[in-house]
Every structure is written in C-alpha cells, then in structure tokens.
Amino acid sequence: MGKNLINLTELTFQSMIESVPNAIVLVNKEGRIAYINNQTEKLFRYDRTELVGQSIEILIPERFRKNHPNFRDMFFASPSVREMGAGRDLFGIRKDGTEFPVEIGLNPLITADGTLVLASIIDITERKKAEERFRLVVESAPNAMVLVNKDGVITLVNAQAERLFGYKKKELIGAQLETLIPDRFRRKHPDHRNSFFASPSARAMGEGRDLYALRKDKTEVQVEIGLNPIETDEGQVVLASIIDITKRKEQESIIINQMSELGIKNKELEQFAYIASHDLQEPLRTISNYIQIIEEDYWEEMNDETKTHLKTIHHSTDRMNALVKALLDFSRLGRNSKLTKVDFSKIVNEVISDLENLIKETDTKIHVEDLPVSYGYETELRLVFQNLISNAIKFRKDNVPAEIRIGYENKEGQLQFFVSDEGIGIESKNLERIFHIFQRLHLDDQYEGYGIGLANCKKIVELHRGKIWVESEVGKGSKFCFTLPNLKL
C-alpha cells in the first residue's frame, strides 16, 4: 500500500517533469546527472542513457567547466530557489559540440537519497537574436536613442546618444535618466515619466514645451524627443529617440531675423523709390524750368555755342528724369497687382498694335504662333512682351528689317515662351548682364535706351516664379525665353 503510494508519487512527479516545456535536469550533490526529461534529450541531442550518471559538466562548454564544481558546491551549501549565473550569460553545449545561450532556474529538491538540484533550462537563442536585432536597429538609428525602464533607469543607449550627451555607454547604462536632464526640469520629470507609463503611447514628448538635455560637460542642447513604449520580458520600457535641434533652432531664428530685416529693407527700398520720385525730380525740374526761362528771355543774346551747351543740359536733365521715373516704376512692379486670367494671344496682339507705328516705320515682320491662356499679372506680362518686341526691333541689323517670332511650348507643367529675332545678337559674356538694371551694351548714339527694359522683364518673370534667359549668337540673332508656371486657379 505504502509502496504503491510512493510509486504513484514517483509516477506523478515523472509525468509532470516530462510534460513541462522546459528541459529539466536533476543533479546530485556529486554533480552527477540523476534524471533528465524528454525536452533535455531534444535540447542537448543526447539519449537519456548517455547522460544519466554522467557529470553535469558534460552539458557545459569547456571554458566554464573548471569553475562549475565550485558554484555547484556553493549552491548545495545554501540551497534555495534562484536563477543561475547572477546576470552572467549562460551557455549549454550539445552532443555535437554546438553552443547555445540558456537561462537556468535552480530548485533544491530534498529526497530520500539526499538533496538534489532540479535545473530548469530554457533555450534563449531566439530571444537573444531578437535582442541583438533590436540592439542593432537602435544602434543604426540616425538619432540618439535611450531605453529606459519603469524606474527611470537607462538600460540601453546607442552611439549617437554617446555622441550627443558626451558620456560613454557604460557610464549611462544603469544610470538614472534624470542625469541627462537639466536641474530645473529634473524635479518634475519623474512625474512625467510615471504618467507616461500609466498610459503609454507612442508620442512626442513635451507637448509644445521647449526641451533641453544636459550633456556630460554641463552644456545644454535643445532637443526634440519621441517616446515609444515597448513591452519586454523585463516589463514595460520606453525607447526615447532624441534629436539635437540646436542647429535647427539657430537657423530658425536666423531666418526669422532675416525675414524681418528683409521687411525693413523692402520698406526702405520703397521709401527710397518714393524719395527718388520726388526729391530727386524736384531740382531736376527746376533746372529744366530755368533753362526754359533763359531760352525764352535771352535766346537772341546767346551765341551758337552757348545754345548747344544749354541743349545738352536740357537733354541730360530729361534723361535723368526718365531714369528716376524708370527706377520708381521698376521698384513698384507687381505691387498691388492681382493674378487674373491672361489671354496671351490677346495681350501680344495689343502690344503689337500699340507698337504699330514703329513696326510700320521699320518694316518689321512679326509671326505670332498660338498662345495659351493662363493666370498671371496681366499688365506686367504685357510689359514683358512690349520690352522684348521693341528690343527685337531696336537691335535689328543695319538695313535689314526685323523678323520676330513669338510662341510657346508646354514644358513639364511650365509655359515656356520665346521671342526670337534675327538681329545683331549678343556676345556670350553679356548674356547675364543684360538683365541687370541700368546695364547697357551700346553707346547712346548707337541705340538709345535706359537699360531698364530687361531688368523689368526679369523682375516680372521672377514675380511669377519663372526664369528668363537668352540664347544668342552674334550676327545671327537672339532668342529670349521665359517660363511661367501654368497656374490653374
């Protein structure tokens, strides 16, 4: 009866051990294997008969074997349920000599034959691989990353974090996260941390507050922090991804400063244009008026030379007047203009009829292809065509009537217009210069002008966020091209 009971107990114990998912090894005080379960056979690839009675060290890689009997003795000296290894990485070795990482739980088992130790062994190869993958991902992330557990202890950092904070990895791991936070924010931080763990979700930290981190050298960096809760075997942890935004903030403030400076400069420029239009014109006008008075009252008394000089003065003041006016007009281009639907065929034809006299006088031929309808600043665009067409007429070859072609192409969502002529052409070194204000390539008595027309064109095209350029060959002609975005309102 008593015997049966024992057998039954043994049987129950045996079937229990066989049915657990872990490898179970029973070891006696001498370090001999007393029993293994089926899982152990599978894990270590031995047959039961090969192991029972053998020293347990058979399952341990060579390099750990020497110290193992000591550990074993220590355990038997004060047997208790605990994890083996005290944080060290443990490995098992199979019959074929391959190693694998394991986690081992130890349980003392008092039996009639004395104290045995029941070792429960888990193969953690997969977990180690996953951990390694995670570590690699964190390591290769472009941002500084810090893994923190519920108690605010740093458990993992990457190289970027070392660089950002100026600490070595080993200085950070195990340290309180608050090490990385400036004093003034430190007090409140554990509360923030606790409330995060209370309702963990992936989110940006700080909700619009400016965040700062403290480096080892006590300097601060402005940062942006993303938080990601991660569920692990060690419980809930949070992965903080930290970006140093000091540079960005600096650039932001530079941009803000420059914008306001630009605003001031624009105001100044407008003011300047106004002064140019008024204060500069006033003395000029007085000169013109008084020349007229002299001409009216003293014409008879003047000799021819004096008259010529007077005419030169008159001419110069007129010219200066026109330049000042041109400058004002240039500065005001696009101000108060509204985007409207522009029928380019219509505006080009209007410009041509405005220039009718000039076209007839010079026997100019103009071929206009089909032109599109799009959105833009109509008055200004008319000015562009007026300048380009009258330039093409002005810079025709001696004794050869101008022949002008106007058309467009649809290029990658942009309208690319051209006005081409067969005139004198432009030297390649001047292709850029001609678009600058008051730049002229010719003497007054060759080709009259103020050097403002193409500057106006450039400004107008750029107002539309387009580009203007010229392709030209001396003696062959020029082709002015400009692009406009094909706006659809």
Binding site: E282, R285, T286
Partner: protein, 128 residues
C-alpha cells in the same frame, strides 16, 4: 480771364516759374502765392470777397501738406467748394498719390510739375 489763381507750394522756384507761365498765358494778372497750407487757409478765411477761381496745390509741404489742406478746406463754408477749382500740381508721379486724390471730390485734376502753357490752357478750357 480769371479773377485770380492761387499757388500753394513751398518751392519758390516753382512758384516763380508757374506764375510766369500763368502770366505769359494771359489767364490772369492776379496770382496769389502761399507757401504753406496754413497760410492759404488763413487767406481764404479772411479774404472772403477776394477768393481765387483756381488753386494749384502741391502735396509735399512742411507744416501742413496738401492732403491736410484738403481736409481743412472741406470744413470751410461750402461756398468755397462751389467757387474754387482745385488742381493738384505736384512732383509726385507716384500712382498712390494720384489714387488718393479720389478721396477728395473737390479735386478736379492731378497734374505733375511743371505746369506748361498747354496744360494750363487745357485746365482753363475744361473748367471755365
């Protein structure tokens, strides 16, 4: 012939020239010149029986500029507004200034300096 024309302009060179044009055009012999809006208003208030038919008004003047003059002129007895034609005569070809005259319905014309015989006769033919 008009009874009188008033020039309101701080620029004496311009006043000299414009007075000369007016007299040469034989529009009137009586040109009243005031160098500020304040002086002009003072004259209009005190010389009720001798008010000009036509005022040429500058914009940029120290003390009281052309716009301020117009505001004050509008507050005078409305008889003034019926009897006097005001023409802006200014250096400014700034469209902003030109547009601003629309706020003042007593302004008949906007002319940029200098006043020429042709422009003067146009104005006179249009309004007298």
């Amino acid at each position: 012939m008009l009874n009188s024309i008033m020039l309101i302009d701080d620029n004496n060179f311009d006043n000299f020239y414009h007075e000369r044009i007016i007299k040469k055009s034989e529009i009137t012999d009586n040109v009243i010149t005031k160098r500020t809006g304040i002086e002009a208003l003072e004259y209009l208030k005190t010389q009720e029986n001798n008010i000009p038919d036509l005022i040429f008004l500058d914009i940029n003047m120290p003390g009281m500029n052309g716009w301020e003059f117009l505001e004050n002129f509008g507050k005078l007895n409305e008889v003034y507004r019926y009897q006097i034609i005001i023409v802006m005569l200014t250096t400014s070809n700034n469209p902003d200034d030109k547009n601003r005259t629309k706020e003042f319905d007593m302004v008949a014309e906007y002319i940029t300096k200098p006043l020429t015989k042709e422009v003067l006769s146009e104005v006179v033919n249009k309004f007298f």
